[in-house]
């Protein structure tokens, strides 16, 4: 419903226009499409593969590659919000009047404004005005009565909150935008990669520059696991994370999986990715020939270990399946004197190295793949404001669409030997549905008053 064109300044008139709303919504829809077709926020080099340098710089200047954060996209959003506020402020007082001062009285001339009505007469001989009023009230249940010069108006209404639905919905949009703003000002989005068994208190922001950010606490990855379905598909990625603050373990080995983040001091850690380390962690036992007992070392590829007698050994390479004999590690041993020797030891054949006849006997006891877990780290203090806005929006939509403000007036005018009865109805939405309700209502009022006259006038 466009309001009467009052004398307003042109800026206000521009922003109060629903045509502007429709234009902005469609414009937002159209430009958003570009962002889904052109990949967003890639590295410059990726774009330069597809576009010439000139075109790239031009499109980059326009913000096409980060469209949803471009100034003009935000401008469209701001315009929409301004439009929404102007529209709401302009129309709200009218809606509020329905709530605050219901129109209980309808004058004889005012009846004409309403398209839905029914009128008939009853003889005052068979029915007194008081009795008629009582009968009508029994049909309408809750009524408000006003009387002037013998003319009685019975007013019934329901669902007047429906008048506010639009404003509740509009308010919710503003709340959501506010929540998003709080998030972008006071929150951050970053990531951190943690090798199993290591800890850190520094994460890196996703700001294109990977700016380091220090946290007030230390996060440690105790373990990382991948579990598989029988068919080999990944079932779950699991990190076990601990939070340490002031040398105290506050959260101990909490399981963090996709859909199950860890939260501490408003900062959330999400399982985002993982990386297999190039070298696994190998457990190698070393015995001196002829003696009992062994010494056990846990090392990764490339690390050197000095033994008691001065010999040095290191892992040259790891092979998960050497010629069908299973996991194997190639060892290089440099005795204190003489030449270095290179040989293989096998996980599945612990006694294999005895036959080599060396001074030391090496046994591969365990091979454990090492992973580092990739964690998304975010803080968003605005997120609850956003959820509040969402809740208000759903409530607003329900009120707007599924509740209608229905009003019925029954006017009794005693005229000599007759009482003139006028029934007037109005609803702010769902007119077709209300038409039927109104027909039924006026029929039952007619029936109550013992009037079996002509069918109520059709609209």
């Amino acid at each position: 419903m466009e309001n009467k064109k009052t004398k307003k300044n042109p800026v206000a008139r521009f922003f109060c226009s629903l045509k502007l709303t429709i234009t902005l919504l469609i414009l937002l829809a159209v430009v958003s499409i570009f962002g889904t077709v052109i990949p967003q926020r890639l590295a410059d080099s990726q774009y330069l593969k597809h576009y010439s340098e000139g075109l790239f710089h031009f499109l980059n200047f326009l913000g096409i590659f980060d469209l949803y954060h471009a100034w003009w996209f935000r401008l469209l959003l701001v315009l929409l919000i301004v439009n929404l506020i102007f529209c709401s402020l302009e129309r709200f007082p009218r809606a509020w009047r329905f709530i605050k001062s219901p129109r209980k009285w309808l004058g004889p001339d005012e009846i004409k404004q309403f398209p839905m009505k029914d009128s008939f007469e009853v003889s005052s001989k068979s029915l007194s005005a008081d009795k008629a009023e009582e009968l009508i009230t029994s049909v309408l249940k809750r009524v408000e009565r006003s009387e002037k010069d013998g003319r009685i108006v019975l007013f019934h209404e329901s669902g007047k909150i429906s008048r506010l639905g639009v404003y509740i919905t509009h308010l919710s949009v503003i709340i959501i935008i506010l929540g998003a703003l709080i998030g972008s000002i006071f929150g951050f989005e970053g990531f951190v990669s943690l090798l199993e068994g290591t800890s850190t208190n520094v994460i890196y922001l996703r700001d294109g520059l990977n700016t380091p950010k220090k946290l007030d606490f230390t996060i440690r990855c105790d373990n990382f696991e991948i579990s598989l379905y029988p068919n080999g598909m990944v079932k779950e990625y699991t990190s076990y994370l601990s939070v340490i603050k002031d040398r105290k373990v506050i959260i101990d080995k909490q399981k963090v999986e996709v859909n199950h983040p860890l939260m501490y001091e408003g900062i959330r850690f999400y399982q985002a990715s993982y990386e297999k380390q190039r070298s696994p962690l190998m457990t190698i036992g070393v015995m001196v020939r002829g003696s009992v007992g062994e010494k056990v070392y846990k090392i990764v590829g490339g690390a050197k270990v000095r033994l008691k007698d001065g010999a040095v050994f290191s892992v040259v390479q790891y092979n998960p399946d050497l010629q069908g004999f299973g996991p194997a590690v190639q060892i290089m041993e440099q005795p204190p004197k003489g030449e270095a020797k290179t040989f293989w030891i096998f996980l599945n054949y612990p006694k294999f190295d005895m036959k080599r006849g060396g001074e030391h006997i090496f046994v591969l006891k365990n091979v454990e793949e090492l992973y580092s877990t990739g964690l998304q780290v975010t803080k968003d203090p605005g997120v609850w404001v956003v959820w509040l806005g969402c809740l208000v929006m759903v409530g607003g939509l329900v009120v707007t669409f599924f509740i209608s403000h229905k009003r019925v007036w029954v006017i009794l005018e005693p005229e000599g030997k007759k009482i003139k009865v006028n029934i007037v109805g109005s609803s702010n939405r769902n007119l077709i549905g209300f038409e039927n309700d109104f027909k039924r209502l006026s029929e039952s009022i007619r029936a109550k008053l013992g009037k079996k006259g002509p069918k109520p006038a059709k609209v």
């Binding site: 419903m1 466009e2 629903l18 045509k19 709303t21 429709i22 919504l25 469609i26 937002l28 829809a29 958003s32 499409i33 962002g35 889904t36 077709v37 967003q40 949803y68 998003a180 989005e189 379905y229 029988p230 068919n231 598909m233 990944v234 079932k235 779950e236 990625y237 999986e257 996709v258 859909n259 199950h260 983040p261 959330r268 999400y270 399982q271 985002a272 998304q376 780290v377 975010t378 968003d380 997120v383 956003v386 959820w387 969402c390 929006m393 759903v394 939509l397 329900v398 669409f401 599924f402 077709i432």
Partner: protein
């Protein structure tokens, strides 16, 4: 792993054939205006719907028998089945509320198409495969359910809008189509479908955002699927405002409704097949 017998796909096959028969019955009703034929059409459709429902229940059971156990809403096959189901349900509610069967002639073929698409679209398979970690969430059920009820309501709005445009043209020429409801009834049905679809889509987007916040650490990341659902939302929001604007009533609003459904289809299929993104699995 033992082979699980897929009773569900057989039931879906029966439902699909029943929808063809139902469409023919509705056509016959339109041609002969015979009340008995109309009742028969509804009975056939309800039968198909019950078989369809049983199929979904069996599919659910089969996911458990396979050992993966999930609500069957997690891939293209299952979503098409569910989409078709929601469309039939929405139609049946409409028929019951409005006591009009004509829309069925145009709407049931859509439900048929959706279920038939499971065997038409290449790469859509009825195999039960386990869920990737991101999909193992209760949010999946509520997110997908609300989205598809929204989509189904928009599909109804789409059909009604096309009929409105047809009727509107003939009405103007002073020669309205007798077997179609009046233009204003169609316009009203269009609006009513959208006021069901719009809150559903809104809840779908919100639950999606809540889920994303849990799984990915951010409630909105302008992923193509998210963006397209927002585009759809913008278009229907424009529609809703158009109804209160002079010069944007009726015809233009109907065009917006048609456009909105094109956006729905793109959100559903286009994003999966033409654009890569976080939602690439479903």
């Amino acid at each position: 792993m033992h082979q699980v017998q897929m009773i569900s796909s057989k039931l879906f096959g029966v439902a699909m054939m029943t929808y063809i028969v139902a469409t023919l019955c509705y056509l016959a009703y339109m041609a002969f205006k015979n009340k008995k034929v109309g009742t028969l059409a509804t009975i056939v459709l309800v039968f198909g719907f019950l078989v369809h429902t049983a199929g979904i229940a069996f599919r659910w059971r089969e996911t458990h028998l396979t050992g993966y156990g999930y609500v069957p809403l997690s891939n293209m096959y299952e979503s098409l089945i569910f989409f078709s189901w929601t469309m039939v349900l929405i139609y049946l509610i409409f028929e019951w509320r409005y006591k009009r069967k004509i829309i069925g002639v145009f709407f049931i073929p859509l439900a048929f198409l959706a279920i038939a698409a499971t065997s038409i679209i290449p790469g859509v398979s009825d195999r039960i495969t386990p869920l990737i970690p991101a999909l193992q969430s209760n949010w999946l059920t509520i997110h997908v359910t609300t989205c598809f009820f929204g989509y189904a309501a928009f599909a109804a709005a789409f059909v009604v809008s096309l009929l409105y445009l047809l009727q509107y043209r003939r009405d103007k020429a002073g020669n309205p189509i007798s077997w179609l409801p009046e233009a204003r009834v169609l316009d009203d049905a269009n609006y009513k479908s959208i006021i069901i679809g719009f809150p559903m889509l809104t809840i779908g987007i919100i639950t999606g955002a809540m889920w994303a916040n849990y799984a990915w650490g951010s409630y909105w990341s302008w992923d193509p699927k998210e963006t397209w659902s927002l585009i759809t939302w913008f278009i229907y929001a424009a529609f809703l405002h158009a109804r209160y604007t002079r010069g944007w009533h009726g015809k233009k609003a109907a065009y917006l409704s048609v456009l909105g459904f094109v956006a729905v289809l793109f959100t559903y299929f286009g994003v999966n097949y033409l654009i890569s993104g976080l939602h690439s699995y479903a």
